[in-house]
């Protein structure tokens, strides 16, 4: 082809034609891009279920994939696609909700946000019609308080596949060293007893807290438990009413402030600067309990699988939480992983079969890898975390597992508000204001109450 020919050929396409072609090309490309990536399975073909999790790391997702292969061997007509392990730099809920809005969500997902909150926004499918016929998922197979976190407007929008229950961890050696009875039966039954015991251990050196007995409630996630221990609640799901500033809750926080004043110099800044009094590592700071600088603290069952606890050089034990002046019985709390089916999922039945399997069978493999406590009552109670067996022996591990399963049975409702995350942040704000003494318990809780009820009413109004 000569240059002249090329030139003639080029001139034959005028600008208008070129732009028209460009337009058609662009339109075709757009339509192709907007089309769905997956196609419905034909007869005899496997249905591919897509499955997401907000994160958890490579090992966790590898474990989920292994469970999926096991599931596929029992369900030849269903394949579970490789788990979408988080959403990269974008926030998981942002991506999930955008995909739901676009009509292209995953078929099933793990959630770290309360299903009640997502259901109130129309993001999840109710599972009630599917649950009764399932092998593991029927409502009666879950502790009621735990399943409550999945319920909104009388329907169930998720399955609490695991729920780490909490308890009072205490260092037996520190007790024995001071000649204090260390058996579970001897552990304080009331807040007053706990406070007296705590004082035995607390020791300051100047402005540095060297050793703490028990740090009164300062973790926001545990606040509903302390409220229930004092005979109250923070949120009444049945009446869709926050009760944050109810008198027993004000009394509960005044009790904590008084404790802080008497035992911890009334200075929370000094306390937090002196160490990490939580149950997990914070910015490189190990929990004080691990360093034997704290005699007692409340944390959750998954810690028993961590080497720092399972292989600790000292002995520890668990006790039930003491009851407040306004309470009548001990309760526990829980921290779940939920499974759910987003609205607009394409393969609902197959996705539910996968979630049902995960609830009863898959969760056992999950537990072997990461000791999140299975919540389903059909799961055998003699599952033991390997690290704990190795570190503390079979008998101890069995005893601790029974303890945590019992705790789950006596859990108080939590995570059940349509504005869960908002309320958690408002409560954290109130709690910090109280502990740092920039507000009184009454005023801080009243402000949190107003904000939470306002946000709740707004969401419920939009939903109606």
């Amino acid at each position: 082809m000569s240059l002249t020919n090329q030139g003639v050929y080029w001139r034959a396409i005028d600008r208008r034609t070129f732009l028209r072609w460009l337009g058609w090309g662009g339109e075709t490309a757009c339509l192709a891009a907007c089309g769905t990536a997956s196609t419905p399975a034909g007869k005899g073909q496997k249905v591919i279920v897509t499955f997401w999790t907000p994160g958890g790391g490579g090992d966790f997702c590898t474990a989920l994939d292994a469970i999926a292969r096991d599931f596929e061997s029992h369900h030849p007509s269903i394949a579970v696609a490789a788990t979408q392990c988080g959403t990269g730099e974008q926030e998981f809920n942002e991506v999930l909700l955008a995909r739901i809005a676009a009509g292209n969500p995953p078929d099933a997902t793990v959630l770290w946000t309360s299903p009640a909150a997502l259901a109130a926004r129309g993001a999840l499918l109710p599972l009630d019609a599917l649950m009764p016929q399932a092998r593991y998922a029927p409502a009666e197979n879950w502790p009621p308080a735990v399943l409550a976190s999945c319920r909104f407007a009388g329907q169930t929008y998720g399955l609490p596949v695991t729920a780490g229950s909490c308890g009072m961890w205490y260092n037996r050696e520190m007790f024995e060293h001071k000649g204090i009875p260390a058996s579970r039966a001897d552990f304080p039954k009331s807040w007053d007893e706990l406070r007296r015991l705590s004082k035995e251990f607390t020791f300051w050196k100047g402005d540095t807290l060297q050793v703490a007995g028990f740090m009164p409630w300062h973790a926001v996630e545990d606040l509903p438990i302390w409220s229930a221990l004092n005979g109250a609640q923070l949120y009444d799901a049945a009446h869709r009413q926050y009760t944050i500033d109810a008198e027993p809750n004000v009394a509960m926080m005044e009790y904590a402030v008084d404790w802080l004043n008497q035992e911890y110099k009334g200075d929370f800044a000094k306390v937090t600067r002196s160490g990490n009094w939580e149950g997990y590592e914070i910015e490189g700071r190990q929990p004080a309990f691990i360093a034997q600088r704290q005699a007692m603290f409340v944390t959750y069952s998954w810690n028993m699988g961590l080497n720092s606890f399972a292989q600790s050089p000292y002995t520890w034990d668990m006790a039930r939480l003491p009851v407040g002046p306004g309470g009548t019985k001990t309760v526990a709390g829980y921290w779940p992983n939920w499974l759910a089916i987003p609205r607009g999922a394409r393969h609902v039945e197959q996705a539910f079969a996968w979630l049902d399997y995960m609830s009863g069978v898959g969760v056992q493999a999950w537990f072997r890898n990461f000791p999140d406590l299975p919540a389903n009552l059909q799961v055998r109670r003699d599952l033991l975390p390997t690290a704990l067996v190795d570190g503390k022996g079979q008998t101890f591990a069995q005893d601790i597992m029974h303890f945590f399963r019992d705790q789950l049975d006596s859990a108080t409702p939590m995570w059940d508000s349509p504005v869960q995350d908002f309320a958690t942040d408002q409560l954290r704000r109130a709690l910090e204001q109280i502990m740092y003494k920039v507000a009184t318990p009454r005023s801080a809780l009243a402000e949190a109450q107003k904000a939470c009820q306002g946000a709740l009413d707004k969401v419920l109004q939009a939903g109606s």
């Binding site: 909700l97 937090t272 609205r343 504005v419 995350d421 408002q426 704000r429 910090e432 204001q433 946000a455």
Partner: protein, 311 residues
């Protein structure tokens, strides 16, 4: 007459063709502006008047989001206060620090190229990584900064664990990235004619007088640029505040910046309408502050060839 008309028509046709060709050339940029800037801005404005949670369609609620923001959002005024505190301290400190660095980099010391590269390098470090390094440095027990304070006999502080010190710590952290401003100042310094500085020296001006009466006035356009960019970026501080204080601005909401409040309102509370209203308010605030700075520019910015603005 007819020939003239034909000529005019030809010229008109040429102009139209030229205009069309020009439009075609700028079309990619125009489309990008419309799609990725104008559309989101207008959509944000619209969403600020709605109740919107991504999944359900937006519902028009008029000014309710703005009313809630000013009267029933406890974190709004806290985040406004935090952002203002940060901007008021971080911007002047950053400008002074960057100018000081630029003056040092403008000397004829040996190995200056290496120093300039070293000063610019922190800009390349991802903000999350540098913030994590600073968190370790600010650690009250084992951090480098408290260790240095102890070495010189000064009292140590809680830094990021103490509500009083968390914001100052964030401001110190912001100085890590002043290499970019320093390089802009350096470019400005190198534009200053040596003859002016020499003339001032011959007239008996010392180093401080040369800086005060020659360098600084000639540098004011660069100061204006860095000031505007600094104010805008200080209002937009997000990553560092989020890594340090999470979505709650711990401790005691002392690191809850306005952008973090917008983010958590949108993606933690799913209140997109409310978050859009917050974004509109931020946009207006930055716009007003920027306009005030530009309005004040004739009073203190010296432009060569514009004698009226020289004070």
């Amino acid at each position: 007459m007819a020939a003239t008309r034909a000529q005019q028509a030809r010229r008109g046709g040429t102009r139209r063709r030229t205009a069309r060709a020009g439009l075609l050339f700028v079309l990619p940029w125009l489309l990008s502006l419309l799609l990725f800037t104008a559309y989101p801005v207008l959509t944000t404005l619209y969403l600020s008047f709605t109740d919107y949670n991504i999944v359900q369609p937006p519902r028009w609620i008029g000014l309710q989001n703005y009313r809630t923001m000013f009267t029933a959002d406890p974190a709004f005024w806290t985040s406004v206060g935090n952002s203002a505190y940060y901007a008021l301290l971080a911007v002047p400190l950053g400008l002074a620090g960057a100018l000081g660095l630029a003056l040092l980099l403008n000397t004829r010391a040996p190995g200056m190229g290496v120093y300039r590269t070293l000063i610019a390098l922190p800009v390349l470090v991802p903000p999350v990584a540098s913030t994590i390094v600073f968190i370790a440095m600010f650690d009250p027990d084992n951090g480098l900064i408290n260790a240095l304070l102890q070495q010189v006999g000064l009292p140590t502080v809680g830094w990021l664990t103490d509500p009083t010190w968390a914001k100052p710590a964030l401001i110190l952290l912001s100085l890590w990235g002043l290499g970019a401003s320093a390089l802009i100042f350096l470019a400005g310094l190198q534009e200053i004619p040596q003859a002016l500085l020499d003339a001032a020296a011959i007239d008996g001006a010392g180093p401080w007088q040369r800086f005060r009466h020659v360098t600084l006035p000639l540098l004011t356009p660069v100061i204006l640029f860095n000031l505007v960019m600094g104010v805008i970026s200080s209002f937009h501080i997000f990553t560092q505040a989020l890594v340090v204080g999470g979505t709650t601005g711990k401790p005691l909401e002392s690191t809850l910046m306005f952008m973090v409040h917008i983010y958590r309102t949108a993606f933690r509370y799913f209140a997109m309408g409310h978050a859009a209203a917050l974004a509109v308010v931020l946009f207006l605030a930055v716009l007003v502050v920027t306009l005030v700075i530009f309005q004040s520019a004739p009073l203190w910015v010296y432009y060569e060839g514009n004698r009226g603005s020289h004070r």
